[in-house]
Amino acid sequence: MTNRERVQAVLSFEKPDDRLPMIEWASWWDKTIRAWQEQGLSRELPWHEIAPTLGLDQHIQYWLPHRGPGCPGPKFNGGPIMEDEESYEAILPFLYPEHGPDGQLEDMRRRKAEHDAGAYPIWFSLDGGFWFPRTLFGIEGHLYSFYDYPELYHRILDDLADYQLRQMERIYEILTPDFMTFGEDMSYNNGPMLSEACFDEFLLPYYKKVVPFIREHGTKVIVDTDGDVTKMIPWLRRAGIEGVLPLERQAGVDLPALREAYPDFLFIGAFDKMTMRRDAEAMRGEFERLLPVMKTGGFIPSVDHQTPPDVPLERYRVYVAMLEEYASRAVRE
């Protein structure tokens, strides 16, 4: 089976012939790669070849740009680039760049034949209705904006949705990505960062505008939100979302329980990165915990968000070997 077929099979709750996909869905943590280079990983390797070199399947991700060149940046990490209606108007010429994704679309055209042949799955990511306004209002201003600038918030999400719909039309003229994510990070260790009422007022209309279009094309719609997403899953389902990642164990996410509650929901991630900092036995225990869900389909096991820098390369190799073992067992047993 090809890489792409495996991903398509799992995301449709069918069993791949040989094994589940083996991916690290998140891009590498730069500190981890630097540490591994000290431990012998070739420094010559281009970024996208690290995964296949380490024995993982290749996948191609495109994160659509939402801000164009010349857009003012924050004065400090996580700071605002606008505050109110007026300053939104002022930066508007730099947002939603119509030609921003041109390079990515060109790359898609180049890769189309390989994608059709199954060499890799292709997915794309969009800044979501929580994440994108955060990049404008700044981390803290954003949390106040639901109360301070509700109308402006709605306006931003309308503009965002329109832009994303236009750009996705362009993508679908070229090829059909296998899945996509909304980058959100709207949950943390103690659950959602915002209330259900806030979600319904602000995010739901946005998702209702964008999600059906994506689903019509057969691309699976997944939300990327760290932390404990348990309480949010019903909210996301109401919005037409088909799955979540990364299902952070350290935040208390109980994947087997979620699978029982939602037999038809898609999951990616869930492998407790903290076990990788311990030893092989801890990692095996983690695979044993996930194996029953791996067998149910609709789940791609993967590190629950970036392998940490203190995991030695040698241990990562052990992890990959174990992933292969369990990815095979999941379809055979």
């Binding site: 996580g78 639901f146 109360y147 260790n189 209330s195 806030c198 932390g227 350290q250 903290m274």
Partner: protein, 218 residues
């Protein structure tokens, strides 16, 4: 005393109505209610409700922030009066996100909850070195050092803070609290810190307890 007015302050605070809270606090002052009573029974009691609801996920981060903002508007009115009346804070804390770490949403919430319990807080911001924590505690007479870390790569700095505090000989006078996503009770024990809590409201409860026990111990 006009308890209705104090309740009104508390309720508006819980809804994040900063302007209204400020006006009502001024009204309470004008009516001659003791500043200490306005603070405790109006503002802090309102913030307490928000803290409890935050613990149980009845309210979320934005609601806590707007409530805390309203509280601070009210406190602003009271501050000179409280100073005049010689009302002292429950205790003093320095707080920061540890070196190498820029996550500060949680740290800021803990700070606000501390303030909501009447503690005085020195905010050291993010990327704070162990020396800065310890020096600040010494120079500013803090009873508590509170460290936040969100990364497995930075949580080790907390152990350094404990060590530095020992070296500086302040371990019997200063309590060390830790928190953040990768931290837990076991880790707190392991590094010899005093208190871990999983959320900001519990952190504030624990901090008040610590200050009281330090006071009792003289």
């Amino acid at each position: 005393m006009n308890t209705e007015l104090l309740n009104e302050i508390s309720e508006n605070l819980q809804r994040g109505k900063a302007k209204v809270v400020k006006e009502l606090v001024q009204k309470a002052v004008d009516e001659g209610i003791e500043p200490d009573a306005i603070l405790k029974e109006g503002l802090l009691s309102g913030m307490n409700v928000i803290g409890e609801k935050f613990k149980t996920n009845e309210v979320y981060v934005p609601e806590v922030l707007v409530a805390a903002r309203a509280m601070n508007m009210g406190v602003g009115v009271l501050k000179p009066l409280l100073a005049e009346a010689g009302v002292k804070a429950e205790g003093k804390v320095c707080i920061g996100t540890v070196q190498g770490d820029l996550h500060d949403i949680g740290k800021n919430l803990v700070k606000l909850m501390f303030e909501g319990k009447g503690l005085e807080v020195v905010d050291l911001g993010t990327d704070v070195s162990p020396d800065t924590f310890v020096q600040t505690a010494i120079e500013q007479n803090c009873q508590i050092i509170a460290c936040s870390a969100l990364l497995t790569t930075t949580m080790g700095v907390m152990e350094e803070v404990v060590k530095k505090a020992e070296e500086a000989g302040i371990r019997d006078k200063v309590k060390i609290m830790i928190g953040g996503a990768p931290v837990d009770e076991a880790y707190c024990k392991k590094i010899g810190a005093d208190v871990y809590t999983p959320d900001a409201a519990s952190a504030a409860d624990a901090a008040v307890e610590l200050c009281r026990s330090l006071k009792a111990a003289g």
